[in-house]
Amino acid sequence: MTAIVDAPPDQLTPVRFHQVGKAFGSGRKAVVALDGVDLEVGAGEFVCLLGASGCGKTTLLNLVAGLDRPTSGRIELNSSRPAVVFQEAALMPWLTAAGNVELPLRMAGVPKAQRRAKAAELLELVRLAGLGDKRPHELSGGMRQRVALARALASTTDSADAGKPSLLLMDEPFSALDAITRDVLQGELLRIWRATGTAILFVTHDVREAVRLGQRVVLLSSRPGRVVQEWDVDDAPDAVDEINTALRKVISSHAA
């Protein structure tokens, strides 16, 4: 990876895609999930990736998270280790909430006292202070997802990456929650984003969610996933309608 060493940290681009493609399988049976994707997320920027099913949103996130490798092109990663929040909270059921937040620190060999303090701080950030001793099954869906967020944030705190911008990857994190909880958590996420200054790449299939959260919305086509269009949401008042129309167009192109 060729980081631009001279640039000051605040100008580093956490992640940049260069003509990234990803195919599963090989030969004629290969399924192309992503094709020629160019995309970048600036430091502290909130980008929403929008698309219908099969647009390779999750694949794209997995590539950034290092859970998978691109078949062509390259991904330039200048952030500390990306934090990932999945659609399910996927908390470890044998650990308490605090234990889950501490898990990435434990695996990184952080001493116990420091781990405790960091976990308490992160639980405070997601407004779960004092609930660290609860087991996942004693928490509601929304609370679990907030623990998962705190845990993901804990995984980025790596001393070796000091000075690099942080990056949070979220794969439809609120789609399994009920409407009120989702609404509240969207507000919470914006608050946490402002408080931490982290860059966020947020995958969703919900146009309203994308417009409410993102500074920039990127629409992906389906099978193969390509970048169709981008909107700067802040200066587009009719963004929801406009993006909805574009999304419908992408989906109806698959009708035949």
Partner: protein
């Protein structure tokens, strides 16, 4: 919507409403009674039927002893102190055999679960061994090792190792795939992933395997003791049962069966059940109506 709703209070309210509520549990006495009474009742009914059958004298006395006669046998063992030696000989063998099985089965299970060639190669063999009654090994063990403890341990190992290893393998196979993925995203390396994610996630299945492994090692031990009897081996429960048969003493045979049953079930209830319950409860896997 009124503007004086405090920041974060909606969330706090949702948390309060959404948190799962546990129904208050009844009093301690009542809970214990609800657990203990049904099995005690079942035993009382069984003994009553037995007593009635004996009183009706369908079978001669040397085929069906009275409950009182069997109890007399057990009581005599208790008052003479012989019962301690019987228990000690059998239980210490079973525990040592089980411990050795554990040492062999855990690396074996890990290898089968994680290395594809090993799984394809010896996975079916290990599952197959589980369905082979380990008594079948007694003749070979006696021919190989002679009438001694080593022959008995060999039989116990072949009974317990496959079921413990299989329990670990199925525990590992049932780990939801999302958990290792999450572990990787959180920065787990290969060994960190096994140590912090896979092994704890597989624990419930592994405990099931341990429980079954204990049952198998106890069973195999009794079979081995029953067949391989020699003065050098000391007198365990199996030999006691064998002696009962040699003496044509049916009440002694029944007493032997009751004692073997009591030890097997007792260890499960005293050791494995509490262990399993605490693991499952910590993960919210028990229903409250247990």
């Amino acid at each position: 919507m009124p503007l004086d709703v405090q920041e974060g209070s909606v969330e706090a309210g949702l948390d309060a409403l959404d948190t799962p509520v546990n129904a208050p549990e009844g009093s301690r006495v009542r809970r214990i009674a609800a657990r203990v009474l049904p099995p005690v009742g079942a035993i009382v009914v069984l003994v009553a039927i037995w007593q009635a059958l004996w009183a009706a004298a369908f079978w001669p006395e040397f085929k069906l002893p009275s409950p009182a006669a069997v109890w007399g046998q057990i009581w005599q063992l208790v008052t003479s102190g012989d019962i301690l030696e019987l228990f000690w000989v059998s239980v210490h063998r079973a525990v040592i055999g089980f411990a050795i099985s554990l040492l062999i089965a855990v690396p074996l299970g890990l290898a089968i679960a994680n290395i594809r060639v090993v799984r394809r190669g010896i996975g079916p063999l290990v599952s197959g061994l589980q369905s082979l009654p380990s008594v079948a090994w007694v003749p070979a063990a006696i021919l190989w090792f002679g009438l001694n403890d080593r022959a008995i341990y060999w039989v116990v190992l072949l009974g317990a190792v496959p079921s413990i290893a299989n329990g670990l393998v199925s525990g590992l196979d049932q780990v939801p795939p999302i958990l290792p993925r999450v572990g990787k995203a959180l920065g787990a390396g290969r060994f960190g992933g096994i140590r912090y994610i896979l092994l704890p996630a597989a624990l419930p299945g592994f405990l099931g395997g341990l429980k079954q492994g204990w049952a198998f090692s106890w069973r195999s031990l009794m079979a081995a003791e029953l067949i391989a009897t020699s003065p050098e081996l000391g007198e365990g429960l199996g030999q006691f049962l064998h002696n009962g048969m040699s003496l044509s003493d049916i009440s002694m045979v029944f007493a032997g069966i009751v004692l073997i049953f009591v030890v097997g079930v007792g260890i499960e209830l005293l050791v494995f059940r509490p262990l399993e319950n605490s693991v499952l409860r910590a993960r919210g896997l028990t229903s409250s109506a247990h």
